[in-house]
Amino acid sequence: MPTKILAGTPVDTDDEGYLVNRSQWNKDVAAALAAEEGITLTDGHWRVLDFIDADFKERSVVPGMRRLNKVGNIPTKDLYALFPDGPIKKAARISGYPKPVSCV
């Protein structure tokens, strides 16, 4: 299991770079994970990350696109604009949560 230093904090990740221990996550780690994806976090990004966080704590699963649309009120277009080429995977990784397991 790789360990790396992000924003001055050692974090454990799986082979694809998802955190394995969310207690090692904080907002600076999120910014560093986002930077790895070439993303600078804005309020728009945080709205998505905060929803994923709240939803994961409630249901123990990363929300799919439709749930982000309907429950999170975040349109598909916005998600692709904020996290290009793989919005949910990227947002889940930056949020410190596991790789999404849903097909939709």
Partner: protein
């Protein structure tokens, strides 16, 4: 990861619920992985993008030997019973309920999701002519009516999947 798939063109040729969803799931899934996706609707598959019909696509309960009731591990549905009026609507209703629970969108919403995700929605020219359709018959997400030649041009350098 140099062998990562970069582009897929998915042909949807069947107009039943089980004929349409696999193509939509693969197309949407491609966009979620950052893969360029072109969806090409042809023959009865075209009903998935016809404004008036896309919301009422049904499962075929006749000619489907894998069909079981009341669920996937139930009893085989004999063809003669599958032909009873309302059987297709009933099976469709049951499956829609399962999909709703999994957050798989209904077809019109799914087409919009794929379109908003940057996936392209194309209609087959030969079918449009054969069925006497015009642009007003299509959902607003339909990007363009393509000839087969144009489809191959757009698909160049990617994978083509026929469903």
């Amino acid at each position: 990861m140099s062998d990562k798939i970069k582009k897929v063109s998915i042909i949807v040729s069947k107009g039943s619920l089980d004929g349409i969803y696999p193509g939509l799931i693969m197309g949407n899934g491609a966009r979620m992985e950052g893969i360029e996706a072109n969806l090409f609707f042809t023959f009865f598959g075209l009903y998935a993008i016809l404004k008036k019909y896309m919301g009422s696509i049904k499962i075929a309960t006749v000619g489907n030997p894998a069909m079981r009731v009341p669920d996937a591990k139930g009893f085989p549905l004999p063809t003669i019973l599958g032909a009873l009026p309302g059987m297709s609507a009933f099976a469709t209703h049951m499956m829609n309920k399962e999909m709703e629970a999994l957050d798989i969108p209904p077809i019109p919403e799914f087409i919009e999701m794929i379109h908003d995700a940057g996936g392209k929605i194309y209609a087959c020219k030969a079918t449009v002519d054969m069925f006497h359709l015009n642009l007003a018959d299509f959902c607003p997400q339909m990007d363009k009516v393509l000839t087969v030649g144009e489809f191959y041009e757009i698909s160049a350098g990617g994978q083509i999947i026929f469903t």
